[in-house]
Amino acid sequence: MKKNNIITNFSVLLILLMPLMGWTQSEWMVSDTKQKEKNPVAFSDASVKDGKVQFMANCKSCHGDPGKDNGLPLVPKPTDLTLQAFLDLNTDGSIYHKMTDGQITMPSYKAILSDQQRWSIVNFLRSMDKNHKVAESVAASKPQKEAPKEEVAIAEAPYYLSLSVDAAKNEATTVFQGTLNGEKTAIEGAEIFIGIKRYFNNLPVMDAGATTNSQGIIKTSYPGDLLSGEDGKAELIAYVIDTETYGEITAHQEITLSPAHPNHFKDTRALWADRSHFPWWLMITYLSIVLIVWSVMAKVVINMLKIKSLGK
């Protein structure tokens, strides 16, 4: 939650500063020594996965989904960091230092992400780099990364997304399946949004960047102490994020959170209440003033009529 706040703050700040940012980003170069810095975090599945989680939580809000080039329409426009052109142009050190120092609209992540996390993001980006040559020392781990990708991704429509809830543990489980040879098959590596439905947007409860495991499952817990309505009823919603590949697939599940105790604002007589609930003291004051003043006027009018009758 705290990270999300930081992201929100930064996003707001970025939007506010937008008009001030006139110049383009194309010339952002990092010094030679920094460019040549080597990535101390070994390229491994664990590191790439961690990098992906961090990317989804911190970078995506501006830079958009990896490979989709759908970043925020800021000036200058945040680059899709998985573009081959970007990856070719920037060394590991360069990406790392841009993240670390920031420039203009790109905030510095020095204080937000640890060294290790920042280097992991570099690893995550490199995992999409076609020209990436893994250093020999860590080459051994590479096949493991490539292998599963080729095996899966054959499952076809129709897709099935199920959402079930363990109310006792406040735990939600989604299972994502496709069809392979007429049979349901788990889809691995798909990103699924799981959240609680709200009026205008959904409150995410899953880990950012979490993907389905080999059984097509993502498990997440949700905060059961969240207040929701007088009966605590809420709706859990899950959908597949990659709508381009899979289409719009959603699942809903009713859950019970904590009941909110409504404060009956409208039922109390108060200054802020509606017109039928204005305070007694105000009504008495208002009406008595109006009554006194208008009855004096009425008395004067009666006197005028008396004057008239005296004149006859």
């Binding site: 506010l16 008009p19 200054l271 802020w272 209440a273 509606d274 017109r275 204005f278 305070p279 105000l282 009504m283 208002y286 109006v290 006194i292 003043v293 208008w294 004096v296 006027m297 008395k299 004067v300 009018v301 006197n303 005028m304 009529l305 008396k306 004057i307 008239k308 005296l310 004149g311 006859k312």
Partner: protein, 448 residues
Amino acid sequence: MSESLSKEEAKILVDKYAEDAIRPMKNHKGFILWMGFLGLVLVIFAYAYFLQLRDGLSVTAMRDYVSWGLYIANFVFFVAASLVGMLISAVLGLLNQKWVKPITRVSEIIALGFVLIAGLVIITDMGRPDRFLNLFLHGRLQSPIVWDVTVIITYTAISTLLFLLPLIPDLAFIKRRMKDMPKWQYHIYNVLSLGWMGTAEQYKLLHKSIRMLSIIIVPVALSIHTVTSWLFASTLRSGWDTTIFGPYFVAGAFVAGAAAVIILMFILRSNYKLEDYFTDHHFDMMGRLLVLVSLLYAYFNINEFLVPAYKMRSGEAVHLYTLFQGAYAGLFWSVQIIGMGLPIIFMMFKEWRKPANLTFIAIIVLIAAFIKRIIIVVPTLLHPYLPIQNVPEKFHQYFPTWIEMAVTAGAFAMALIIITILLKVFPVIPMWELAEEKGITEEFEKQE
């Protein structure tokens, strides 16, 4: 007081009253021209207001931030100017200030003219005037806006009564004295004079009623402008969020109203040879009154600006800097110095309380009073606590469009038309009160 007046002298004096009172009502020189001019302004107003009704409030310069502009400033000005009726005929009357007698009707006419139009000014500020009735159908009693509507209606009613009531003996008198008047005019006098015979009993009732109204109008008049100030002061905005806004507005209203009375007095005096009623002494006293209320107003101004300026709380500071040395500094300091400071100093000298000189000062004071209302309304709206950003450039400032100016001019024309017609139809000199003061009521009421 004047028991020495013989029957003969009394008759001469009463004849003089009749002549002097009827002269402004009969003298039509320039009347057509003046009404024609006001009518022309009204035609322009009608066209401008038609455009505003057709195209909506976007024809004004009011936008998201400055949502109250010239119209509301003008409304505050009108309410302010109408307050003088209470000050002169009620407060000074109750204090037994004999010199105000001839001026009371002038001040009542100004009060009536302005308060009748003040409500209309508010309606011109509405984008959907057809929804005006909703204020009565769905208004919340908790809202100062509903209180404002209540007090304005009440004040209008009291002002009308306080205007009509002291007219009764005079209308009966005019009915007797005025020759060759149209039938409708005779009918008006006949109805409004309520069959006045001038009996002791009638006089007793009249005095009692006037006294009742004079007393009740004081709190109502105070509350009309206090509640108007609450429309501002009950919001959390820099420049409005202050506890002295009520008395500050009331003091400012006395200044504007006294200035308006002086101007009208001078016009009547020089156009209709009424020097015997609006004497140099009256101008001298009005000058002193204007100094008094201006000093009171200056005192509130010092409180209103010095205290927050001493603290310069960050939110207030933005607003105050704009007034003191920013975009509004020119207007602000002219209004404060030329419209308030210098007049006080000048009017302390007898020479500047002479009719022409005093009128000159009063005109400046009245213009400054109008500009001051704009300074109260607009700069505050330009400085919300959350800075204005990501909006079109023109949202950052406010300058009224010609439509707003035309509608405002139309409101003035309407008020002036009401004042002119009242002056034409009704005697501007409260004759019976003067006669009473001279002890010649008997002669005044003598049926012919």
